[in-house]
Assembly symmetry: C2
Homo-oligomer: 291 residues x 2
């Protein structure tokens, strides 16, 4: 096996993730030419002018023709439609992967959509931001980030190994797990927090829009995720709604318990819950090594 | 009226807020000697060794004797008990204030506790942190922070004006409002977010303790508040529980609506809610000028 190198790469959706992926690939010398594809021509022009991509094509099928690596970084709700569009033009031996926040059944659907000899592997770099778009892109986005790859029993082992090597070269820490486990975990640690951030902003503004102006750093931190793209997060929440509803229900049970403590003015139980959460958060700080 | 200067200052509770207040006062040249009082003798020794306070006294009454300014920065649940203890030793003309996160009825109770000639004004610098204790203290903590003062109809206008000048000199932006309005606002923008952060950590860890290790920046931001002191937040939540329960109930209505959208796979309504929150968050970013 030769050195890992993708002669032609096509990126579907040149926003924060797609743009950063292009920049990181180039910086690492892992690719030849990169073609960008997206709905917004101005955005693609900007990406080309900045050297983030080498060419662009607004037609997904022709954009993917001859590509050795195709990377999906559009909203997850568009994956299967785009998959249908590009399948006739995919080259035998190509690797198709993605940066989507939902895996689950989407991975199996994408697998089924691939023509013979085209290898799909689901991926999810944990490197979002409340900033979106090409302007927020940066080659270093994936450095020290986790990147989840979600092989299935049908996943091509060479493609999986190439993508592991690629993400490692981009500075990420690769973790493999099943699509199902990915979706349970990220429903809890990512999709639920987004939902809470949206609900928090809307509930406080609903009580009195003036309240927002009095917020301190805590509220700012707690609502940063609410600045995320509504379209992207609509798709994620809908596609992972079963796991997300379960995470919401777990959360609500904890919140309900705190409410009951408040109603009964039961300070001791509140304190126990708070200290328990504080200890878990402290352990997480140590494990993750950042704050 | 001469230059604002407090010959003797007593700080009850030399932690993050009390320690930072001492450092900021000294740096601004607004005080003579500072006496610290607290439960933990080692902590007071450290504060003295670092020059944050000039002396310490573990007895609140004698610590406050002769003080021109007394600052409460203990957990709010201890205020009235401490108020009872110090009232016999308070000097006529002294100003008593605090940095507590709850005002409401506490302000009126504190007012009533003061002996004749001693002037109490409720205060709340919006400058907390998930780090607590003297080690996290810094003179710059209040710079560019909001500081709420909560005068009542009985508040001495000179004391209010002195404290406004003092906080302004420490770099804070002083906002005056009623104790009741303070508590409604901070139930929504501070106490509710704390409750959500505690509930979020506990619910995710409850689902599977391993999940926490997979979290990205979003979860880290959303749960930072869960590292706050359980004792401090127990007191705040209990004292402001009526407003907090209302804020929880507003929040739950928004979360329930999102759940219903998920159950119905109603992506359009989800997106509308998300975009609405995103716009509010964006406006807040512009208003507050930080992120």
């Amino acid at each position: 096996m030769g050195k890992l190198f993708f002669d032609k790469v096509t990126i579907l959706g040149v926003g924060l993730i797609g743009g950063s992926f292009a920049m990181a690939l180039k910086e690492s010398g892992l690719c030849g030419l990169i073609t960008g594809c997206g709905r917004n021509r101005e955005n693609l022009k900007t990406a080309k002018a900045r050297g983030i991509i080498d060419s662009f094509d607004s037609d997904p099928a022709s954009a993917c023709a001859g590509a050795d690596l195709v990377f999906f970084s559009t909203p997850v709700g568009s994956f299967t439609r785009l998959g249908e569009l590009i399948r006739p033009s995919l080259k035998k031996g190509a690797i198709v992967t993605d940066g989507g926040s939902v895996k689950g059944s989407l991975v199996y659907e994408m697998e089924k959509l691939m023509p013979g000899g085209v290898r799909y592997v689901g991926g999810h770099p944990i490197a979002g931001s409340d900033r979106s778009g090409i302007d927020a892109s940066q080659a270093a986005l994936f450095r020290n980030a986790k990147c989840i790859l979600t092989p299935t029993k049908d996943t091509d082992r060479d493609a999986l190994s190439d993508l592991s090597d690629m993400w490692t070269a981009l500075g990420a820490c690769v973790i493999r797990m099943s699509p199902e486990r990915h979706d349970r975990i990220y429903a809890a640690v990512s999709h639920l927090p987004h939902l809470l951030a949206y609900a928090l902003v809307n509930s406080v503004a609903g009580a009195d829009p003036e309240f927002l102006a009095f917020s301190g750093q805590g509220f700012i931190d707690m609502t940063r995720l609410a600045a995320s793209s509504g379209e992207v997060w609509r798709d994620i929440c809908i596609l992972n709604r079963e796991n997300l509803l379960e995470a919401v229900s777990d959360f609500r049970r904890k919140l309900d318990f705190l409410s009951v403590c408040l109603e009964k003015a039961d300070g001791a139980s509140l304190e126990t819950e708070f200290i328990n959460a504080g200890n878990l958060r402290e352990k997480m700080r140590e494990t993750i090594g950042q704050d």
